[in-house]
Symmetry: C2
Subunit: 338 residues, 2 copies
Amino acid sequence: MKNYTVAVVGATGVVGKEMISMLESRKFPVGKLIPLASERSIGASITFKRQDIDVEVLTPESFIGVDFALFSAGGSVSAEYAPIAAAAGAVVIDNTSHFRMQPDVPLVVPEVNSHALAGHKGIIANPNCSTAQMVLILKPIHDAVGIERVIVSTYQSVSGAGKDAIHELESQSRANLSGQNYDGKVFKSPIAFNVIPQIDVFLKNGYTKEEMKLIEETRKILEDPSIRISATAVRVPVFVGHSESINIQTRKPITPDQVRSLLRTAPGVTVMDNPTKGQYPTPRDLAGEDNVGVGRIRKDLSIENGIELWCVGDNLRKGAALNAVQIAEVLIGNMVPA
Amino acid sequence: MKNYTVAVVGATGVVGKEMISMLESRKFPVGKLIPLASERSIGASITFKRQDIDVEVLTPESFIGVDFALFSAGGSVSAEYAPIAAAAGAVVIDNTSHFRMQPDVPLVVPEVNSHALAGHKGIIANPNCSTAQMVLILKPIHDAVGIERVIVSTYQSVSGAGKDAIHELESQSRANLSGQNYDGKVFKSPIAFNVIPQIDVFLKNGYTKEEMKLIEETRKILEDPSIRISATAVRVPVFVGHSESINIQTRKPITPDQVRSLLRTAPGVTVMDNPTKGQYPTPRDLAGEDNVGVGRIRKDLSIENGIELWCVGDNLRKGAALNAVQIAEVLIGNMVPA
């Protein structure tokens, strides 16, 4: 069995660490792991298979001999270094939004559109965390009856904004519980015991960039630009796990029971939907899990062909690190994860 | 100026205390205040206009000579005692859901439908907290262009579930921050650093009772059963302030600027909508405020006549105590609050 040299760019970040953890726990055939980060991380090390590995400073020479380069260090780092890595012969799997909407860059959730990997040109994009979990749910429904329109409101955890954001929620919550004020730096409004209807920057159309990612990436992954989507992305005081309230208008009729049946056999999805027993997914149930949980599946009372549902996923796993490693797994084995 | 005898049923609860606070701060002409509660509150007192008043145990004789009886002690208490209070000549303003959908009981948000108070039969219903803030936003839009369909996802604070729920969020958050477990009693899932897609009990159609209240009460207050509504009600770890992501399909076209103009002159509403300055309402901005804040007003990209917006209100004020006192104000002065 061949072993691969894998570089992780942004190795000391929340997603980078999770990528390294996923490579280990999923037994990806890593011959050599190269953790890369900026100069700020000089002296840091990461643990992989019980070995401490020094973090190296990212340079243009970092990718010589690298088979896979997993990037999660921000859009500008990917913009500069991903082409260098690809030119050096590495396959780049990029977790930032920088390349996602470029027509010649596959944007892939393996359970949904692994075929899009064929003929890639060295750079493959990992979708936004909120998109990844939503398309797992939408794909089987779209295949069965066609999706006309989606209206989604999100409840996104702070880990999607990195380790400073995790620290801010923790410190601010602790301070507030002691009656102390705590001025945050990451979030523009207090995040402790609050919700903030802004993720990423605002665009001219009044949507945030996060909301437009959810809209555009979903269409690209489902390969159907005719699906009409609107989104509202909201930050909530949760550490790990994104939730989504999704309203789906279908082209042909489908019952909630049929949706449950479809999703029970969908790869990467766990149906958790028994209201009489109080069963539905919450972020604390799904944090640390690979699968995306779905519940609250019911007929939308306001329209003929409508379904309401609630989906929750670990934004660091399926929303980021897991999906990136799954893409690499497909590339080395031509296997679609199930 | 006439003074009134006002009884508050559930005077030691979160909403009851807020009702007493509202009566005082709004200078409602109270001649005598009678705080009522169950036997569990024997020995308790409340403060009104700097005077301590002993809480009395609720009995069928409690309402003799009472002009207004504000109820917020649960549906079963209202079911039993509201008719007794009304028969004794008091005007009951009931904050529970018990009477809301009865055809001969007015369900009133004064800024929206105070005319419905005419000819009341002694019992007037205060709407659900989530409904009250939403109809303030929907009413001007419905009057201007007609509302075809509403899809709402809520982000509701724990104070809507009472003081034990507030205590549970506080204690559980503190425990979790110290790495301790804390089993809650009020919520079926942990509420600290989590979101829970269930408020109130589940009904046969897969919706919760809270969601159906939002749907049915909105139609009753807007006096238009043809408005199609779907709702998802979610509890978030916030102490005070409910938020709502609202998608509105209108009958005639309307622009976001026109919506902002309409809402700027709407009573009880504050437009907080300047994305470039990072301005939008959050629960921590609106807690302790009378007005409902609205922002993120934008054209829904997924449909011709669609508007997306975000609204936040203090669920204890406009969502409960303030609205109840405003109803009493209209009744004594025939004035609509503005």
